[in-house]
Amino acid sequence: MATSASPQQPGGAVVAERRGIPAASFVEDVQIYLNQLGLDVNSTLAFLQERLQQYKVVEMKLLAQQRDLQAKIPDIEKCLDALLTDFEASEGIYSRARVEDIDSVCLWLGANVMLEYSCEEATSLLRKNLENAKASLEVLIADLQFLRDQVTITQVTIARVYNWDVHQRRVRQALASQDS
């Protein structure tokens, strides 16, 4: 994999990668970039297109993870809500159905596992899960923003390399017709 060491201007954060996602290097000058890569225009464009595809694949994966988390969080919040409000609203009504169980709660942990907890333990477990899920979501959203920036940079670079090539051809053509 070719690496370009184009210097970034001061004031822009320079990050080589983020959690396994390689950063797209910003191209200061197309000619210098092509020289550094040591590739011709078509190969460069192909390389950049492939990079773009790889970014898209990662984006799909992250979006799927984000959807899962976004479904999980209200789930946990509903459980917490049920715990907290049933406790207060249920005196006369709910306790008719289950007298002893007021002190203990069964939580479905998934994978065919259900554990019994005291109300306090259940509440703190759910709260912790909720915090972890929210924190994971934040990191994920930041990953996606970083990824989208790299996609944009790559798209712009592709356009610039292409435009540069078109410009070069025009110049060469103009020179050729001058000589003849």
């Binding site: 009504i93 989208r148 920036d149 435009n163 025009r170």
Partner: protein
């Protein structure tokens, strides 16, 4: 958002790139906000309907559990939930306005520099 190729030689600086990136991020956020606003509006409509029921004791759903709750308490809870949602909706709309304003500013800057070489409109 696409960049149109025109064979021009306009230089793209890192600052330009950052502006373009920022525009892209704002555009994404704009669409997310539109979706969130639509969902919040649905909830507001639904809770308005609920207030119109006429029974004494209402089955109120908390998570996956239905609790028999007297109508007064249900009304109070729905009122609270509606207020929370309305505030949330207000916040979303304010954020959307801010995003739209920032996008308009960036458009001015970017079109000024790149004119036809850049396309910042929705397809």
């Amino acid at each position: 958002m696409q960049q149109a190729g025109g064979g021009s030689e306009t230089e793209v600086t890192w600052e330009d790139q950052q502006n373009i990136n920022k525009f892209g991020r704002l555009n994404n956020r704009y669409h997310e906000l539109e979706d969130e606003i639509r969902i919040a509006k649905n909830f507001e409509d639904a809770s308005n309907e609920l207030i119109l029921t006429d029974e004494e004791v209402v089955r109120f759903q908390i998570g996956e559990v239905f609790a028999h709750v007297p109508k007064d308490e249900v009304e109070m809870r729905i009122e609270q939930m509606t207020e929370t949602t309305t505030k949330h909706l207000e916040k979303l709309k304010d954020e959307k306005d801010a995003v739209v304003a920032q996008m308009a500013d960036l458009k001015k800057v970017l079109y000024a520099k790149f004119k036809d070489s850049i396309n910042l409109e929705e397809d």
